[in-house]
Amino acid sequence: MRDIAIVAFAQSDHLRRTDECSEVEMVMPVLHSVLAQTGLKTSDIGFTCSGSSDYLAGRAFSFTMTLDGVGAWPPISESHVEMDGAWALYEAWVKLLTGEADTALVYSYGKSSPGSVRDVLTRQLDPYYVAPLWPDSVALAALQAQALIDAGETDEPALAGVAARSRGDAADNPHAQLPGARPQGDYLVQPLRTGDCPPIGDGAAAVVLVAGDRARDLCERPAWIRGMDHRIEAHSLGVRDLTDSPSARLAAERAGAFERPVDTAELHAPFTSQEVVLRKALRLGDDVRVNPSGGALAANPVMAAGLIRLGEAAARIQRGESDRALAHATSGPCLQQNLVAVLEGEAQ
């Protein structure tokens, strides 16, 4: 298998609202930043792939206008997934594995501010039996959290601890929407309090992938992708064991995550309770540094938050703060779909 690395990562500041920016106005500076880190130009990129959601934007074909920020002229080899950008990265990684391209630009973005994201996400659910009840994303996460509490896997103080640790770590993240610990607040949907839930906001992220030795030319310490896999579970919550994530575990196994210990994990767990599920499924011990960026609890631009986990893990390797990191992204209600990548830096 071809060696492919993340050589650059950029993200916007994540903000509650960005009315002054259209989507392309929000994305373009991030694209410029990620290319500037490598010195590459659009014309040097072999493949471009993005992730976003029309439902979040409230407009069909919303991604077509964001392509303006890329400068797709002369025409480029390009694709788009209606998924979190982590899956755009996966598509680009596969493209590079075929040998048809040596460099890839991956970006994703989401503006949750125009709509009510709790309601928008109800449209992801079974359209016959579930969506007509409008169960919002916090409610579904709360059902999962209660199942964990009932099973003795966690309790409210432990969840509060996850929240405090995440936002405390985010104090060092200049892009975070919620830097620094804050009160847990009232119940939003019991047992989840405001503090257990992600902030609602807008943001964008981009990474550059490069194959082979070229990665070493463009980056002092590339984050080599040692494996990547994703798996989906049944859709209905009522047929799943909400206290576990077999799809995350299987993806991790296929990505080679269990072959050697990781020192860092960036988990896409928008709710504190989901970190509990993922730590167990991914067999992350207390010695693993989880979400040093603050994770999705500090900034959760929907459709980009998963890609940001890959970017943050890679950036940590590039900075020499990690040698082997696990990055995770999720999609769907209560961790229905999960992606795991294993990133490594070469010996320092």
Binding site: A60, T64, W73, S79, E82, V94, R123, I232, H235
Partner: protein
Amino acid sequence: MSNQPANNRGATGKEPVAVVGIGQTHHVAARHDVSIAGLVREAAARALNDAELTWADIDAVVIGKAPDFFEGVMMPELYLADALGAVGKPMMRVHTAGSVGGSTTLVASNLIASRVHRTVLTLAFEKQSESNAMWGLSLPVPFQQPLLAGAGGFFAPHVRAYMRRAGAPDTVGSLVAYKDRRNALKNPYAHLHEKDITLEKVQASPMLWDPVRYSETCPSSDGACAMVLTDRTGAARSPRPPAWMHGGAMRSEPTLFAGKDFVSPQAGKDCAADVYRQAGITDPRREIDAVEMYVPFSWYEPMWLENLGFADEGEGWKLTESGATELDGDLPVNPSGGVLSTNPIGASGMIRFAEAALQVRGAAGEHQVDGARKALGHAYGGGSQFFSMWLVGSEPPTG
């Protein structure tokens, strides 16, 4: 079965990709008898049956469709995971506007070419009867000028620009519509089966968006299309002749830009050139035996004939007029009846890819092009900005 190592991971270069299963629904205006899951399942089950494989043989599922607003389900792959046997497997969702059916196929093919997976199910669908496509396409976005002309109003001015540029007589569009509707009569899955179609009827149909007549426009369909793609080992086990992928590419250019050529977009030319290069095609007119191109309005056939290099600039309409693109011509275009006869939007591109594969497998039934050995599948979307194409052959690629 091949004696080669089952998983040739040490090999350099790409793993060849074969199509061993193809399935589609009977496309109609409204499939009131099935759920969305039931619709996609029908196509997927036919593809698996064709390949004589079971759900357990599928390593991953790649699904595509046009905007989620068409069915009112956000990221419907989440809900469809169970119906498509994806539980415990990787599942991806592609969305590249009208080209999505083609792009989805190519994303799936890369999973095999890269040797990440062995056998992949790819599927695209649209169930337009759940809402109204024009509603989905013209949401009342504030501050924007409302669409003044409906779907045809977007395409018809480009057709007029083509006619002006190429000096084409206004009769050519009707010829294409008449041909495609007759071809559709030979395709049991096609949506429109106009048994009494005549050229006079096409020519007498109402002029909706002058220069585009009613009979020169595509229908709105419910439908799905699926393919099983596999590697050399999988192809060796195939009960029926596979179609082999000889080249595939996507190209995008911006939606609207100064200097954009809507009549013959550069992205289309570049995409075709890339596919021909991969497939070793130097004279597409001579070397390609059948073309399934995305023609939502009849005039796009002569336009794409030029864009894809089958005719010189300004000469595409002459090729159509000569009868070369008829089912018994020397360059049959849309033997299936094409988008003009069947348009489940998100699936339309994959149907083009699948019909091209059916031709080189010799499995196209009544609309089979005799002796077809190489066929092109073409899809496009957005503001004529996203292109995806593949070239398939009856023999494995060489080299």
